[in-house]
């Protein structure tokens, strides 16, 4: 079938708004942002009405020399620890709710509620839990895991703030991945499970021999999404700790944001360069994820 002129014209007319918006707000900023990373473009130049000036790798040299950037990058990489925990937990929860038993729809919906809670309300609620007089200390001292009078603010302590923020990410995320895993679980043909059951496979065997191999695409998708989300974490530390205490929760995207928009000498060039570094790390991690996943499961399934 050949495309007619009329169809082509019509198609582009329909597509025009999407193409224009994607071009203007997705592709142009990608290209221009990459360019800015190699330029000097800051408050001083703005004040004189000057545009960006090409400086080659200067920004990247400045980044390597900036301990705050290195800390922020390290924190973002360290934040990846949440990925395996989050994936195991949400897969386990998905298995738990993947049965047509009473009240299951209720549990599924309730677990999703943290996902649709705005970060600001989340910050308000978790602030109280992590407070010196908050519930976390109450529970821990109740269980005698925390000695009497040793209560402290979890978000104000440089040893714990990082993990406390990560727990909030975990809390906000597990319902989301649970739904994705649930979709994957429900697409596994029931006959397969049934046949294995008749062959005498235990539920543990069925899980590892049937469920996991059948879920491979979903697991790959979820771990990919969650790896990239963890590396790009920004909102949780921004609203919970503002990067503190002592920069212990300062992440790479917070660095990008604060260089570009905070303080008086906002520096678009340096911020763009930092953004590029994060982007490259994200790409490498995605590739690694694909590789790792293919190697560990092989093609035998």
């Amino acid at each position: 079938m050949r495309a007619s002129w009329r169809d082509t014209l019509l198609s582009y007319a329909f597509l025009a708004p999407a193409i224009i918006l994607l071009g203007l707000f997705t592709f142009y900023p990608l290209a221009y942002g990459t360019f800015l990373g190699f330029t000097q473009y800051d408050g001083a130049r703005f004040a004189q009405g000057l545009g960006p000036k090409w400086v080659g790798l200067d920004n990247f040299r400045a980044l390597i020399a900036d301990p705050l950037f290195l800390t922020s990058l390290w924190n973002s990489v360290r934040y990846l620890l949440v990925v395996p925990l989050l994936q195991l937990a949400s897969l386990a929860v998905a298995v738990l709710v993947n049965r047509e038993l009473p009240a299951m729809p209720f549990f599924r919906a309730a677990y999703y509620v943290p996902v649709i809670t705005t970060i600001t309300a989340t910050a308000v609620m978790w602030d109280w839990i992590y407070n010196k007089e908050g519930t976390l200390n109450w529970v821990l001292s109740g269980l005698h895991l925390l000695p009497q009078g040793a209560a402290f603010g979890w978000l104000n302590n440089e040893q714990t703030a990082f993990w406390a923020v990560m727990l909030v990410t975990f809390w906000r995320g597990f319902g989301y991945y649970m739904v994705l895993y649930l979709a994957g679980l429900q697409s596994i043909p029931a006959e397969l499970e049934e046949a294995a059951r008749l062959d005498g496979a235990s539920s543990w065997q069925r899980f590892w021999r049937i469920t996991v191999p059948m879920m491979r695409p979903t697991i790959l998708l979820c771990s990919l999404l969650s790896t990239i989300a963890a590396l790009r974490v920004l909102e949780e530390p921004l609203v919970l700790t503002q990067g503190g205490p002592l920069n212990s929760t300062y992440t790479a995207l917070m660095y990008v944001y604060s260089k570009a928009f905070q303080g008086f000498n906002f520096d678009y060039g340096l911020a763009s360069a930092a953004g590029l570094v994060v982007a490259v790390v994200a790409l490498l991690l995605s590739l690694a994820n694909f590789r790792l996943f293919r190697d560990s499961t092989g093609e035998q399934a």
Partner: protein, 294 residues
């Protein structure tokens, strides 16, 4: 791998011992479910309890677990925070931004999805590829350049500035494309033979037949847009009067640092609309999410 080497056992469904074992497993399953439930919803319940507590009745929010059960229940905190912080303004801003985002996303996604689902034209693969690419392209610097662009367009500090960069997304276009491809071809042919133009076909046949997908996309967009924090905060940082509730609630936290009752009420103003929408449309919402994965 010990599970594999263990001797095979026959299914025990009919033996007498199996019944209590199954019951035990069921109890265990529900116990775990309740544990996870506590983890997921405890922060909400506590916030709700605090927001409903009459702060003049004595007691602190940290008298845990007593603070879970307010001595005297009141809606006064809601009224107070609404009035003293003029929350009405922020709620209106949220409604304005969210409504524009939902309508914009639905219109642009439907328009773009129609030719992608139904026509063959040169460049189709390329355009589809470009849209797919937005899902994987790392956009760490886009928010910097986008604020510059909005400034040039004179849209920085406006609701339209918040909305425009978000309405053309791969998620919506995909979802609508899938829905359109499921509409029977014969129906379109019949309409065209009757002399209907493409725009008529889209609005009179395609759209009415794909209501569930539009509803799912609409609800999904509504929730995301209502809850968005970072981007609206950035675009509207110089115009605090235009801020949506999601950004204003945090300012509330700074302002009423020692009045957790009002903060809790403010947080609930933020959450309740989305919660109601979610509960009412939960199935559609979940299906929308699953549909986006496949």
């Amino acid at each position: 791998m010990s599970a594999v080497t263990r001797p095979r056992v026959l299914p025990q469904v009919h033996t007498r011992r199996a019944v209590p074992r199954r019951a035990g497993r069921l109890v265990l399953r529900y116990a775990l479910l309740l544990l996870v439930l506590g983890f997921a919803v405890f922060p909400f319940l506590w916030t709700l309890a605090i927001a409903l507590t009459d702060k003049h009745a004595g007691g602190s929010i940290y008298d845990f677990p007593a603070s879970l059960f307010p001595r005297r229940v009141t809606l006064g905190n809601f009224v107070e925070v609404y009035n003293t912080f003029s929350l009405g303004k922020y709620i209106w801003n949220s409604v304005s931004i969210t409504a524009m985002t939902v309508v914009g996303t639905l219109v642009i996604s439907a328009l773009a999805a129609y030719p992608l689902a139904r026509f063959r034209f040169p460049g189709r693969q390329v355009i589809f590829g470009i849209i797919v690419a937005t899902l994987v392209l790392p956009g760490e610097t886009t928010f910097i350049v986008n604020t510059l662009t909005l400034k040039h367009l004179g849209l920085l500090g406006t609701h339209l500035g918040v909305v425009l960069p978000t309405v053309a997304g791969a998620f919506g276009i995909f979802l609508m494309r899938q829905a359109f491809m499921a509409v029977p071809h014969a129906l379109l042919e019949a309409a065209r033979l009757d002399g209907a133009g493409e725009f008529t076909v889209l609005t009179r046949i395609m759209l009415p037949l794909t209501r569930p997908s539009q509803a799912a996309l609409g609800i999904f967009t509504l929730v995301t847009s209502w809850n968005a924090y970072f981007w609206p905060m950035l675009v509207l940082s110089a115009t605090p009067d235009q801020m949506p509730l999601s950004v204003a609630v945090l300012k509330l936290k700074g302002q009423f640092n020692y009045d957790p009752f009002n903060i809790a009420a403010g947080a609930l103003f933020m959450m309740i609309p989305v919660l109601l929408v979610f509960l009412a449309a939960q199935r559609l919402f979940m299906r929308g999410l699953e549909g986006a994965v496949k």
